[in-house]
């Protein structure tokens, strides 16, 4: 069993996700951003997209497919960045 496919790894990822959500909540509260449920939903979807992009690039490199890593990184990376900008604009809305 290798670490990154082990149960312990996903346990740690879960802890990281929880810490991120708590930290993000405090950060938003301190700046006066109101996090409605749909903002949390959009944030959750974006986190999945972000994780997918990184995992895609990593998987492609691991498979010995640098071309897939490059083009996948560019395509999914751009989608991730553009959606992050969009998400940011939504999150900082006070209403």
């Amino acid at each position: 069993m290798q670490f990154f496919s082990s149960g312990l790894f996903w346990f740690l990822e879960g802890i990281f996700a929880c810490l991120f959500i708590i930290g993000f909540k405090y950060w938003a509260e301190d700046r006066g951003y109101i996090m409605s449920f749909w903002k949390w939903l959009l944030l959750g979807i974006w986190i999945v997209l972000f994780g997918f992009t990184l995992a895609f690039v990593g998987t492609s490199l691991g498979e010995g497919e640098p071309n897939a890593a490059l083009f996948g990184g560019i395509i999914f990376g751009l989608i991730t960045i553009i959606s992050a900008v969009g998400l940011w604009r939504i999150v900082i809305r006070k209403s």
């Binding site: 810490l19 708590i22 930290g23 990184l54 995992a55 492609s60």
Partner: protein, 484 residues
């Protein structure tokens, strides 16, 4: 006191905010490393995870259909293996061909076939006169890098059960040593239980795939291949005990398969499937029932792909071979015909017909042009994709290394590693009723996983560069181990 508490609260918030930011970085990095390990993980080599059948995990019940996808569109007829099976026809041509007499010097069967299919005569002669000498010359000149690939391929083929070269009545039964009579059949409790048992035994004996079909007589050759115990000029009278067909199948090793055509081999899966089939046959015979293995490379009395379809293991794809949900087309099957009462499996329809219509990656990457870019055609009364076997084998015979091609196997989107990425892509394709994902994922596949220009797969004498689809694994790089 209140001031102290406030300060403590702020510190905790600060801490959690920073921990959250750190967690985002660590979590993101973890996803990248997870991906990297998934990509490298040998456990994602389809079909190699276990020999206990766990890899045959696709839920076939959900996709099972009453009738197989191939359509009967006219009067059917059985194949004449002497001419329609290229592994039988070409050796006959080699034995009989004389330049001075030409086609008139061939026996009636070959003459008749080649007069109806002059393009095959041209391609078969081209293989004999042009390709073979050029391949030999190039092997001398450029063959060193493929030394380990050849050694490995030959090693995989070194162990093999003896060929069955006697008729079914003599070989298919276990006989009492004293009386010479077939041993008595044991009374099995039910076909369902027996099928379950046979599948478990086949997995235990090393088979990744197992399926059971009622044998359709249309799939048995009308005239036999050489060396199977039948008279070559007599039609095969299908034995009554060939009632069911058990299909077993084993994957080809992943990394060499990905380095086709020069480093890959069929011998590994051929050898495993052959040994498994003989073992399953032995098991059945010891229960007092008849069993006859039909095994790769050329020891068959029947056509294999339609039996796989009938047994619900997969569907015929554009390259004319069967695509399974688990292994794509990266496997080699063998068949056991038997009269052991079994419960046949149902065929499946998991969308390969629709997908192959739009994908065409195999046809675009096929160096010989043997895979059609067009639609299905009628073959002996059935509508199906047809491979130009003469063109295909001409390329097989031209390559260096352990010989062969299998580029269609390597590039097929269904033949990818069993990691999260490709499993998800496969599941999206299979479950999408609109077909939109076929187009999108095929486009991504072409963009992300391109192969060399197909011409580069050829040997230098035929205008190529001995290219392979991907680089060979470290253990087949001869120049790293041998001082040439």
């Amino acid at each position: 006191m209140a001031g102290k508490k406030l300060k403590k609260t702020i510190n905790r918030r600060q801490f959690l905010k920073r921990a959250g930011a750190g967690s985002a970085v660590l979590g993101g990095a973890g996803m990248g490393f997870f991906g990297y390990q998934s990509g490298k993980d040998p456990e994602s080599y389809t079909g190699w995870e276990t020999h206990e059948g766990a890899q045959q995990s696709f839920n076939r019940k959900r996709w099972s259909v009453d009738k197989p996808h191939y359509k009967k569109v006219g009067p059917t007829k059985r194949a004449d293996a002497r001419t329609e099976v290229i592994f039988s026809r070409r050796p006959s041509l080699q034995r009989q061909w004389r330049d001075e007499t030409g086609i008139d010097g061939l026996d009636e069967v070959l003459q008749d076939y080649y007069r109806r299919n002059p393009q095959d005569l041209e391609l078969d002669l081209y293989a004999m006169k042009e390709i073979a000498p050029k391949q030999r010359a190039d092997m001398q000149k450029y063959g060193d890098p493929f030394t380990l690939a050849m050694a490995w391929s030959n090693a995989m083929g070194a162990v093999s059960p003896p060929r069955i070269n006697r008729p079914p009545a003599e070989t298919d039964f276990l006989r009492n040593r004293r009386t010479g009579e077939p041993v008595e059949s044991m009374k099995m409790k039910s076909p369902e239980k027996t099928s379950k048992l046979i599948k478990k035994i086949s997995h235990e004996l090393g088979s990744t795939l197992v399926g059971i079909a009622k044998l359709n007589p249309d799939w048995v050759y009308l005239y036999p291949m050489r060396g199977r115990g039948f008279e070559s000029d007599q039609e095969i009278d299908i034995p009554k005990h060939w009632q069911y067909a058990i299909v077993v199948g084993s994957p080809m090793s992943w990394d060499p398969m990905y380095a086709n055509p020069t480093y890959g081999t069929s011998n590994d899966a051929y050898s495993r499937s052959r040994i498994i089939a003989f073992r399953v046959a032995s098991f059945i015979k010891q229960l007092g029932y008849a069993a006859r293995p039909h095994t790769p490379g050329t020891d068959y009395d029947l056509m294999v792909p339609p039996i796989l379809i009938d047994a619900g293991l997969g569907e015929q794809g554009r390259p004319s071979i069967v695509i399974t949900p688990e292994l794509g087309c990266n496997f080699r099957p063998a068949i056991i015909t038997t009269n052991l009462p079994l419960k046949p499996d149902k065929p499946i329809d998991f969308g390969v017909q629709r997908f192959c219509k739009t994908c065409k990656i195999c046809a675009e990457n096929c160096p010989s042009g043997a895979i059609s870019m067009g639609g299905m055609v009628e073959v002996r009364g059935y509508l199906r994709y047809k491979l130009d076997t003469a063109k295909c084998l001409n390329f097989w015979d031209s390559t260096l290394g352990s010989m062969g091609c299998r580029i269609c196997v390597a590039v097929c989107p269904y033949t990818r590693k069993a990691n999260w990425l490709h499993k998800t892509a496969r599941d999206v394709i299979i479950n999408d009723p609109t077909g939109l994902s076929d187009t999108v994922l095929t486009a991504l596949q072409k963009r992300f996983y391109p192969g060399p220009d197909p011409q580069k797969y050829y040997i230098p004498s035929l205008g190529g560069e001995n290219a392979s689809y991907r680089k060979p694994p470290w253990w087949l790089r001869s120049e790293d181990f041998i001082d040439f």
